[in-house]
């Protein structure tokens, strides 16, 4: 395979299969992601995009095939799962901030308990990251007091505080109003520039075209086409891709 980042892969998936009961959500996914690569995953609703990236940090458990993240294989060994989770950050569509903790505390909690930093170190890092995502003045508010865009930026800061090697985004802007989408995409764009490895499910085609190194199209639990944005958008090979691009670009 050509643009598969095979030279220095940080995520390797081999024939990954996943069933929910007797419904097969992933039907043999094989791909790999290179260090520093930005991969955008697209595809129709229910095609298994979320399931795929949730398998990468074991929020879902795959039943067949192999997933290796940063040299550690995901098995039922708890130590491996912990190691991988501490290297992989994840940002959700619904933000999932802890509503009973202040913004600052949201960002320091896992630093203290998982990364074993002292509270003052953690707070320093948190304020630095809030600065970076553009909302340093919100540190002492509660999530319920922030706008959606601000909450999502806090969620990104919370993940980054763990110094992950990989960031997963599952439709991070789908629950947001247009102005807020811009501010979150801006943060993601900045993040991509720093050389972070990113796997993002998103339908923001502008972002995909500009930032992604590679676009992956899912359909019915399988990757049916992948390639750099220039080729993918202008010269799709698979008829299903053409249809999907038509649908999504028509509005």
């Amino acid at each position: 395979m050509m643009e598969n980042g095979a030279d220095n892969p940080i995520i390797v998936c081999e024939n990954v299969k996943k069933w929910f009961g007797d419904f097969q959500a992933l039907r043999g996914v094989t791909t790999s992601v290179a260090e520093g690569e930005v991969v955008v995953v697209i595809g129709p609703s229910g095609s298994g995009k979320s399931t795929f990236i949730r398998c990468i940090n074991r929020l879902e458990q795959h039943q067949e095939g192999r997933i290796v993240v940063g040299g550690t294989e995901l098995t039922s060994d708890v130590r491996n799962i912990e190691r991988i989770r501490s290297e992989v950050g994840m940002v959700f569509q619904q933000f999932n901030l802890f509503p009973h903790l202040t913004v600052l505390h949201n960002i320091t909690l896992a630093q203290v308990w998982v990364r074993k930093r002292t509270r003052s170190e953690a707070e320093e890092r948190a304020l630095e990251l809030l600065e970076r995502v553009g909302i340093p003045e919100q540190a002492h508010k509660y999530p319920g007091q922030l706008s959606g865009g601000q909450q999502q930026r806090v969620a990104i800061a919370r993940s980054l505080a763990m110094d992950p090697k990989i960031m997963l985004f599952d439709e991070p802007t789908s629950a947001l109003d247009p102005e807020m989408i811009v501010e979150v995409l801006e943060v993601m764009r900045e993040l991509a520039k720093t050389g972070m490895t990113i796997v993002a499910v998103t339908h923001e085609m502008g972002f995909a075209r500009e930032v992604a190194n590679r676009i992956v199209l899912f359909d019915e639990g399988q990757i049916i086409e992948e390639g750099p944005p220039s080729e993918f958008f202008t010269n799709p090979r698979h008829p299903r891709t053409k249809l999907f691009l038509q649908q999504i670009l028509s509005h």
């Binding site: 912990e82 994840m90 999932n96 930093r117 002292t118 509270r119 319920g144 763990m162």
Partner: protein, 507 residues
């Protein structure tokens, strides 16, 4: 920019002023209620007089000539003693019942959520059975079960666990430690132990939060408390010094003239009001400056001021109140003084042996272990299990109310299961659980009045026996209402206090 100029605001006439109307309505309602109460009570008193009924309270001081099944005074000399016995019996059931129902409810609720098939099925069966049978039926069921299932008491029987547990138709009795005369001296060590344990808990907890280490705060606190308890067990005569201190204080309290207390207390009342207003203003102040105060805010502050000055005035005008307070305080100090003595030695606790010969007395009196009579067993099992099934549902609902995304976010950050539960799930579940939990506590307390069905002498049963003897129905009903109202209000206050502390900050 050219803005159209507004006319200066005009004040509306007072009958259209929303602030004035709101205040007028509040004061109006207050007067209305007082007036209605005054008329009704006057009317009732007149009617009672006409029928030859009296509202005197002799029943509290007269010998009631009744016997109670169990409790502190089985043959009370006054009505007061009878009601006191009933109240204590009720509180025994309510407090131990609340504790047990909470534990059982939490365990069953979590079991219903568990992925262990057997555990969740059993828990479901328990909840569905217990909450669908009327509590009165359950009370009677347990009462009769204990008299069918348990063996007849035979001469010299001491089983099933000799010296520890005795089960018979006359009741269940188990060995139980009871305080001796040196208990108070030991208690001093226990209090000191509690305080140091709390301090240790906090320091270890802070360290855990700052350093992210597992510092085992609970283990530390427990060990420190235990160390004090063990040292105190042998060294308790040293605490006799506390008695000497109490004696000294008691003498001083009597020597100071009442006027000094009056002035001090009045000043304290004024200070409290001032501090309340001060804090209230502080809480309304944000970094941006003092927020605009609403009418309600002014109302509260004025009320606090009026209460403070009113309290001070009452204290200064009627020295009797202060004098009574001082006397009670002095009596309390002297009472404490008598509980301590350097020369008093011996174990602070003694183990009472199980016995049902003298049913259900407190062992300080009968010198036996803790005994559950069939009546107590019936009412206790009935209300406890019934309430626990509701608590189980409340706990389950609370945990389920925390969105799945919270768990996922926690795992994605690398939190372990235990950390996730402790720091993310439970704090959020707790605020959903708390208000309905308080309702269940209230229900349990009030359901103890079903004890009358199994002849358990709690407040209602005692009251009924009393008015059968004396005919003072109205007084007994007033006593009942006052008692249950007080208990319920206390529980509500406690729950509301915790509830307020647990609320989420929203926009």
């Amino acid at each position: 920019m050219n803005r159209p100029s507004l006319a200066p605001p005009t004040r509306p006439p007072f009958w259209r002023n929303a602030t004035f109307l709101k205040w007028a309505a509040q004061i109006g309602v207050l007067f209305g209620v007082v007036a209605l109460g005054y008329v009704l009570i006057g009317e009732a008193a007149a009617n009672m007089r006409a029928q030859g009924l009296s509202l005197d309270w002799d029943l509290l001081t007269d010998p009631p000539g009744i016997q109670l099944g169990e409790g502190i005074f089985v043959k009370p000399d006054t009505g007061m003693e009878a009601f006191y016995t009933g109240a204590v019996n009720m509180l025994r059931v309510a407090m131990s019942g609340i504790l047990a129902a909470t534990v059982i409810g939490a365990v069953v609720g979590i079991a219903r959520l568990s992925s262990n098939w057997l555990a969740s099925r059993l828990a479901t069966a328990f909840v569905e059975t217990v909450r669908n049978i009327p509590v009165l039926v359950q009370v009677v069921f347990w009462f009769f079960l204990s008299s069918i299932l348990f063996p007849v008491l035979q001469e010299g029987s001491s089983g099933p666990i000799p010296g520890l547990l005795l089960v018979s138709r006359k009741g269940i009795s188990f060995a139980w430690p009871f305080p001796q005369e040196t208990f108070w001296q030991w208690g001093v060590f226990l209090v000191v132990g509690l305080l140091t344990a709390r301090w240790a808990y906090r320091t270890r907890m802070r360290r855990a939060e700052e350093m992210g280490e597992e510092t085992r705060p609970l283990t530390w606190a427990l060990l420190i408390f235990l160390a004090w308890a063990i040292v105190g067990w042998f060294a308790h005569p040293l605490a006799g010094a506390v008695g000497w201190l109490f004696g000294l204080l008691a003498a001083q309290v009597g020597a100071i003239p009442v006027l000094v207390y009056q002035v001090m207390l009045a000043l304290a009342a004024l200070y409290l009001a001032w501090r309340w207003i001060h804090r209230f203003l502080e809480s309304r102040r944000s970094p941006a400056g003092l927020a605009k105060l609403t009418d309600d805010d002014y109302f509260r502050m004025i009320l606090a001021g009026v209460l403070g000055t009113g309290g001070a005035a009452v204290l200064l005008l009627w020295p009797g109140i202060t004098e009574l307070g001082a006397n009670v305080f002095q009596a309390l100090l002297e009472f404490c003084d008598q509980k301590f003595d350097f020369l008093r030695t011996g174990a602070p606790l003694a183990i009472g042996q199980p016995s049902v010969e003298v049913p259900g007395r407190f062992a300080q009196i009968a010198d036996t272990g803790m005994t559950m009579t069939p009546s107590f067993f019936g009412i206790w099992m009935g209300v406890t299990l019934y309430t626990s099934s509701f608590i189980a549902e409340i706990v389950r609902g609370g945990v389920l109310s925390v969105p799945k995304g919270q768990t996922e976010a926690g795992y994605a950050l690398g939190l372990r299961r235990g950390q996730l539960l402790r720091m993310v799930i439970l704090p959020q579940a707790f605020r959903v659980i708390l208000p309905p939990l308080g309702n269940q506590y209230l229900n349990l307390s009030k359901n103890t009045s079903l004890g009358i069905a199994v002849a358990f002498p709690e407040m209602v049963q005692v009251g009924q026996t009393m008015f059968n003897q004396t005919g003072d129905t109205i007084q007994v009903i007033l006593l009942w209402m006052g008692f249950y109202l007080t208990i319920s209000l206390l529980i509500s206050l406690l729950i509301n206090y915790y509830n307020r502390r647990a609320q989420l900050v929203e926009r």
